[in-house]
């Protein structure tokens, strides 16, 4: 008999607790819809904002502290999103600049081909541009203009690939070390 009463009490307790939980879930969903959002200020709340929020008796039906925390979370999410978007924009800008630089370097290399043609294949050069490529062939020996054009273009291609990869990793690192840690 005691067991039956005990089970009944447990069942009633479970019934009430589950109802309360369900209500909270339902409320959260309502708050999460866009129609409820305009009351939220999308900036990172300061200490005074949180204090003010605590003075309100109601914040869309949510407890003032929970509402403030929610607002803070959303503001943080927004700031992270803005940070990532700005980072992506800067990355694209850098990539385009690098491609422009590559075109410019290629134009420079082409001058060696022109020199080769105008010198009748007898011209030599001792310094070929490396364009900052770490694995560049920077010949100190005299090479013909035709060889110089080839070395120059290989260096330009390599420099572009190297800078492109470094850029990608730099921006990825910023994304993880700065944006994600806001």
């Amino acid at each position: 008999m005691e067991k039956i009463i005990g089970r009944f009490v447990l069942a009633v307790a479970l019934w009430f607790s589950s109802s309360a939980f369900a209500g909270e879930l339902e409320y959260t969903y309502t708050y999460g819809t866009p129609s409820a959002a305009p009351t939220v200020d999308y900036t990172m709340p300061s200490g005074s904002d949180v204090a003010n929020a605590n003075n309100y008796t109601s914040y869309g039906g949510m407890s003032p502290r929970a509402a403030a925390e929610r607002a803070a979370g959303e503001a943080r999410g927004r700031k992270i999103g803005e940070c990532k978007a700005k980072n992506d924009l800067a990355l694209k800008d850098t990539k385009l600049l690098q491609l422009k630089e590559y075109e410019n370097n290629t134009s420079t290399c082409n001058n060696y081909n022109i020199l080769a043609a105008t010198s009748g294949g007898v011209g030599y050069i001792t310094a070929v541009p490396t364009f900052g490529f770490t694995a560049a062939v920077a010949s100190s020996a005299a090479v013909t203009f035709i060889a110089a054009a080839q070395i120059c273009q290989s260096n330009a291609d390599g420099a572009y690939a190297e800078k492109d990869i470094i850029t990608e990793y730099t921006f990825k690192n910023f994304d993880q070390q700065v944006c994600d840690k806001i």
Binding site: K84, L99, V137, I165, K172
Partner: protein
């Protein structure tokens, strides 16, 4: 009988036989040596043509070492004619490989002036406008102007369009979405190849592939996907030709200069 003959060999005959043996040994040595040189030359040729792979390996252990025997590693001389050089020069200018000074001139013009220049069919003005809009994050306008530049002849703008489509490694997106974008990048680079610019296609393509593989694993396309990329490239080509027609220009000249073919056709 046979043994007796050997014993009867004179000193001169023995010497002759030693010399003979020496010549044979020397020949074998020369043969092995020349084979090593051929292998070495072939390896150098591979390094030269796949400079991006070398870069990738190099970046694995970042060091600032320079090659030790530079003079021996210079590319083989290839005979190029004045015609080859002149056609490369013209092609470079038409394709968008221009000097910083020439680019700066266009960056000095106002937006409205550049727009009127584009209407008159100036490809460099279109590329300058593309960059102007990309810089402030207006990618739809940037793409529009890079596309105009490509229609007016600048194949380098196709490389820029590919870079604008390329997903960044940190961008949160589903794998199918990322793969879809990579395929679009490849279609744009295939379009550059169809237009005769093997250089931008290979250089940008290798970079995109390398970054993708560093972040997400091997990038391979099966037969169906390759077909899909090629079909998309053909559609893009027709669209680009239509845009070109709008400027009253004729069919594209898709010739690849001999020097570009020599330097890039061995790369995939």
């Amino acid at each position: 009988m046979h043994n007796r003959t050997v014993k009867q060999l004179s000193g001169a005959q023995i010497l002759a036989r030693i010399i003979c043996l020496g010549v044979v040994v020397l020949s074998i040595y020369k043969l092995i040596d020349s084979r090593d040189k051929v292998v070495s030359a072939a390896q150098h040729s591979v390094i030269g043509s796949n400079v991006h792979e070398a870069t990738s390996d190099h970046l694995e252990n970042v060091s600032l070492e320079q090659p030790s025997s530079i003079s021996e590693e210079q590319p083989a001389e290839t005979k190029i004619t004045d015609y080859d050089v002149q056609s490369l020069k013209t092609w470079n200018e038409q394709s968008g490989y221009i000097s910083q000074q020439d680019q700066s001139v266009y960056e000095g013009y106002s937006e409205s002036v550049l727009e009127s220049m584009v209407k008159a069919g100036d490809s460099r003005a279109a590329a300058a406008l593309g960059y102007l809009h990309a810089k402030v994050g207006d990618f739809s306008k940037a793409k529009f102007y890079y596309w105009q530049a490509a229609a007016l002849g600048e194949t380098t703008s196709l490389g820029k369009l590919a870079l604008l489509v390329e997903p960044a490694s940190f961008t949160e997106m589903k794998i199918e979405e990322r793969r879809g974008q990579i395929k679009e990048v490849m279609a744009l680079l295939k379009l550059a190849e169809l237009r005769g610019d093997l250089r931008i296609s290979r250089v940008v393509g290798n970079g995109v592939k390398l970054k993708y593989e560093k972040n997400f694993g091997p990038l391979t396309f099966d037969e169906a996907e390759t077909q899909q990329i090629n079909t998309r490239a053909s559609v893009l080509y027709s669209d680009l030709q239509q845009t070109r027609d709008g400027y009253g220009l004729g069919e594209f000249n898709n010739e690849t200069p001999a020097i570009i073919k020599r330097d890039y056709s061995s790369q995939k």
